[in-house]
Symmetry: C2
Subunit: 351 residues, 2 copies
C-alpha cells in the first residue's frame, strides 16, 4: 500500500472534507465523488464491510426503474458505488447504512472503537467512502439488506454503534437504520409540558413508524394513532398493540388522511410522517391541529410541497425536517425494541 | 356566463378541492391543473388582478433557462398559467403572490373582504386559480414584478391582506411576499426563555433576510449576524444597520460559511437561510451550535440534503421548514418595515 502524502494527511478534517474529489470544498454528502483510498488519515477508522442496508426509498426507486430485475438492480448499485465512491442514489439522494468490523483505527480517532469491534455506521452511506470487492455476488438484488465484502471509512466526526450481542445482526441493523425517528418523536412529545399530545404516525406499521409509535406512547402521548394504507397492515398493527387507534387511509389523499385521523381521535398535535412515498405533505398538514407539529421522516418529502402546502392551507403548524441524528438515538431505539414485543415482531416480519 | 351546476357548487371545499381537475383528490397546490371558471362557489372570492409577484427562485430559474430573454420568459409564464390554471413553475415548484381588487365575494366567504378592497393574496400562486387576459403585455419579462390584467380566485381557507394606504403598492407587495420569514424568526427567538440567542441570517441583505434580521433583534437576540456573498451587499447591510456583524461568505461553501459565522461571533443558536440558491444546507448546519435551530426559508432547499447533512455531521440541530404562514405575519412584517429605515431602504433598492 502506498502512503498518502504526510502533508496532505496532516490536514484531514473531522467532517471528511479531505476525501472530497469533486466538486472541491463541498461536504462529503454533497460530493459527486469521494476519495476511497484504503490508507487512513490520522482521525479516521476503516471498517471491513459485511452488509449494506439500503435506504428504503432508494431501494424502491431502483426496483421500480429496473422492473424488479434483481441483476439489474445489483449492477446499478455497483455502478453508483464505483462511480461516486459512496452509495448515494442519484434519484432519491439517499443512501443507507452498513455493518462491519473495525479493521484499523487511526492514531487520533475520537470514536473510541477497537480493532475487531462489530459496528453499524449511523451516518449515511451518502457520505461514507466505500469500496465493494466481491461484486455483491451474494446479493440477489431483491432486498434492501445487501451482503457485501469491501471496506468503508469513517471520519473523525462520525457515529458508529457497537452491535448488541443479544440480538440478531440483521435486526440490530434494521433498527439502527431508523433510530433517528423514535428519538426525535420522543423529544417533540416531551416538549408538551402543559398537556399530553395526540400523536399520529403515518406509516405506523413500518420500521420507523412502529418505533415512533412506541416512542410517542413511552414519552407520554395522550393517544397514539397509527395510519396504514391496507387492511393487512391494519391487522398487523392491531396485533402489535402499539397504537391506541389504527386508521386506514392513503396518505397521498389529503382529505381522506385528515378524515381518518380525525375519526381516530385527531386532529393530531404531533404528526410523524414515516411513509416513503411522495405526495404526503398536504395530508400530514391537514391532519394536524392548529399550532401542532409535523415531523417529516420520509426521504420522499418535498421541501417546497411542505412549505407551500402549509401556506396554502393557512396552517399554523411547525414542520420539522427529520434529523437522523439525536444523541443516544441508537440506544433508545434498541431499548424500545427490547421493551415492546409488538415492535420486535413487526421488525422481524420485515427481515 | 354559464352557471356551475348547483349541486356541484354546494360541495365547495374550503381548501379548494372542488377546483382541482387533475389528478383528482389532491390539494390545489399539488394539482397539475385547476378549474379557472370565473363563477364562484359560495365561499370563494374573485380578485381582479393588477400585478403578480413571482417567487424569486422561480423567476431566476426562468431567466436562466431562457438566457435572460424577456420575451421568452413572458411566453413561458403565460404557458404555465394557461396549461395549469395557476402560476407554478414546474422546475422550482414555487409560485409567488398577487395584488388586485376584490371583484366579487361569495355569499358565505369567511375572509371578511368587500368588493373594491385592494388586497394582496398571502397564499401562494401555486394553488390559486388564475386567468391572464392581457397577455402580460405590460411586462418586459425582466423583473419578478409582473403588471397583469386578469382574475384569480380565493378559497374559503385562504388569506388576503388589505394593502396599506400609506405605502407604495410595490413595496407592500414585496414585503408581504416574504412576511412568513420574520414572523417565524421572531417566534423561534422568543422560545429562548433562559438566555438570548445568537442569530445568523444567511442572505441578510435580501428581502426575507433583512426582515429576519430586524425580527431577530426585535425579538431579543443577543447578537445578529448577517451573512452576504459580496462586498457590495456587505456595504449595503452595514449601512442599513440591521446586523451587529456582517460576514462575507459563499453560503454554498460549508466550511467558509461556518468559519465566517464563527468569526462574526458565532456559532449561531438560530440560523435563518434566506438565499435562493441550492446547496446551502451543509453550511447552515455547520454554522449552527449544538442544540441550535436552522430555519430554511429558501425554496431551493433540498429536504434530503438537509436531513442527511445533519446526520452526516452528527449535528444535533432542529431543522424547520419555513412555513409561509404564521398568524399576523403580514402586519408584523409591515411594522418592521415602518420601524426600521434600514429595512425600507433595502426593499426600495430592489423595487
Amino acid at each position: 500500500m502506498s502512503t498518502p502524502d504526510p502533508s496532505a494527511r496532516a490536514v484531514g478534517d473531522p467532517t471528511g472534507l479531505h476525501r472530497v474529489l469533486e466538486p472541491p470544498g463541498v461536504l462529503p454528502q454533497a460530493a459527486q465523488r469521494l476519495d476511497t483510498r484504503a490508507e487512513l488519515w490520522p482521525d479516521e477508522v476503516r471498517i471491513r464491510v459485511e452488509r449494506l442496508n439500503l435506504d428504503a426509498a432508494s431501494f424502491r426507486q431502483l426496483e421500480r426503474s429496473h422492473g424488479g430485475d434483481g441483476d439489474e438492480v445489483r449492477t446499478a448499485v455497483l455502478d453508483i458505488i464505483r462511480t461516486r465512491g459512496k452509495m448515494q442514489n442519484p434519484e432519491t439522494g439517499s443512501g443507507g447504512m452498513l455493518v462491519g468490523r473495525v479493521e484499523e483505527v487511526g492514531e487520533s480517532s475520537p470514536l473510541g472503537l477497537q480493532v475487531g469491534d462489530r459496528v453499524a455506521t449511523l451516518v449515511s452511506l451518502t457520505l461514507t467512502p466505500l469500496v465493494i470487492e466481491d461484486g455483491l455476488e451474494r446479493w440477489d438484488g431483491k432486498s434492501e439488506q445487501v451482503p457485501a465484502d469491501g471496506y468503508a471509512v469513517l471520519f473523525g466526526r462520525s457515529i458508529a454503534a457497537r452491535i448488541p450481542d443479544d440480538l440478531p445482526t440483521e435486526l440490530s441493523l434494521s433498527v439502527m437504520d431508523v433510530c433517528g425517528a423514535p428519538a426525535l418523536t420522543q423529544r417533540v412529545v416531551r416538549q408538551y409540558t402543559d398537556r399530553r399530545p395526540v400523536v399520529a404516525v403515518i406509516g405506523g406499521a413500518g420500521k420507523s413508524g412502529s418505533l415512533s409509535l412506541a416512542a410517542a406512547r413511552h414519552a407520554g402521548a395522550a393517544r397514539t394513532i397509527g395510519v396504514v394504507p391496507t387492511q393487512g397492515e391494519a391487522a398487523l398493527l392491531h396485533e402489535a398493540g402499539l397504537a391506541d387507534a389504527v386508521a386506514l387511509a392513503d396518505a397521498r389523499d389529503p382529505v381522506a388522511l385528515a378524515h381518518a385521523v380525525a375519526e381516530a381521535g385527531g386532529p393530531a398535535d404531533v404528526t410523524v410522517v414515516c411513509v416513503d412515498v411522495p405526495g404526503c405533505e398536504g395530508g400530514a398538514i391537514l391532519a394536524t391541529a392548529e399550532s401542532g407539529t409535523v415531523i417529516f421522516f420520509s426521504m420522499a418529502t418535498s421541501f417546497s410541497a411542505a412549505a407551500l402546502g402549509a401556506e396554502g392551507l393557512a396552517a399554523d403548524v411547525t414542520m420539522l425536517i427529520g434529523n437522523g441524528y439525536t444523541p443516544g438515538h441508537a440506544d433508545y431505539a434498541m431499548s424500545l425494541l427490547r421493551a415492546e414485543d409488538g415492535v420486535r415482531r413487526l421488525f422481524e416480519r420485515r427481515l
